[in-house]
Symmetry: C2
Subunit: 199 residues, 2 copies
């Protein structure tokens, strides 16, 4: 009873501190680069010493793992939102999924590197965090299936196309729209290829 209430408050406090640490890490990642995040800098930002962080995260990679989960939870949210919009045409729906994922990835380089690239050398997401990424892909897969895109190879191609445009955009024209402008065309091309009706 009293013990329960107390334990709950303690849990909230711990959780809030974790959140504060992660926010500090994100802030550093966003304006100095994902790999430039050091435990000493994160600690300083939250008014601690570096070793104290180990009371809240088992290791630096555990911190990256929580950030990885953060990212995919946000992505899952966005893609789930898309899956709820009433479809007009299969072609338009496919483009909407692609555009949403593209914009999400391009909006935050550090996040994209953590989610989709192997920028951090020793880092492997935990099974738990990876499951969120899988759930997101499943949501997309379900949305595509509703458009009649069910072949695994078609889904693989859908994914590769988005990845190629995203990487080209971030690598060669960050902040611009040189490849963003090609997205609709690319997925019209894809829709033509799989035999979707033209509008």
């Amino acid at each position: 009873m009293l013990a329960d209430a107390k334990r709950d408050r303690v849990g909230e406090r711990r959780s809030a501190t974790r959140r504060e640490i992660l926010d500090a890490a994100w802030a550093i990642a966003r304006d100095s680069g994902l790999a430039q995040v050091t435990l000493r800098d994160v600690a300083e930002r939250v008014g601690m010493r570096a070793p104290s962080l180990y009371r809240h995260f088992e290791s630096k990679n555990a911190m990256y793992d929580a950030m990885f989960a953060d990212s995919w939870i946000a992505c899952l949210e966005v893609m789930t939102e898309v899956s709820r919009t009433p479809p007009t045409s299969a072609r338009a729906t496919i483009k909407l999924y692609a555009r949403t994922f593209f914009d999400f990835a391009v909006a935050d380089l550090a996040r994209h590197q953590l989610m989709n690239q192997r920028t951090i050398v020793g880092f492997e997401p935990s099974a738990e965090s990876y499951a969120v990424a899988v759930a997101t892909l499943d949501t997309v897969r379900a949305g595509l299936a509703a458009c009649g895109v069910t072949e695994p190879e078609d889904v693989d191609l859908f994914v590769a196309l988005a990845g190629g445009l995203i990487d080209a955009q971030l690598a060669n024209d960050p902040g611009g729209d040189r490849w963003s402008r090609l997205l609709d065309r690319t997925y019209d091309m894809f829709a033509d290829n799989i035999g979707l009706p033209t509008p």
Copy 2:
């Protein structure tokens, strides 16, 4: 005369040592990862101490830069070879360029990371090394132009498609062919989109 001959031998010796160091670095990169290359390990492999490497390379990044140049020189060679093969059809030529670049990239993960990704954090290629990369792209551009693909946007799309397939292949099915199998289809799709005649 004698001085010249001697200076030449010294130059050759220096150049050979450089080559030996780079080969050692490549060996480590290939079987332990690009970022796992440490100066101490490279030095040990060539029978030196780490600081001695600074007599041959200005910094570790200078070593990476030489490896970056290595990679693009090899790629330029391969793509130049392709540009010399007599064309059959525009469609076949486009696919040949794409396939050659894809296979080159997928054959060596460490090399691909150095050439096309930002795996090494502080590393920026020198203008001299970058010029080789540009020359390679120009060779591809010229080859595509000979097929009637001249629009910059078409070239951008060509590049993004290859990048997407390569990254998906390396990230999600290394050593396999899940996305490799989609390459011909992808560039047929591309050829259709830009209005190339069907065979």
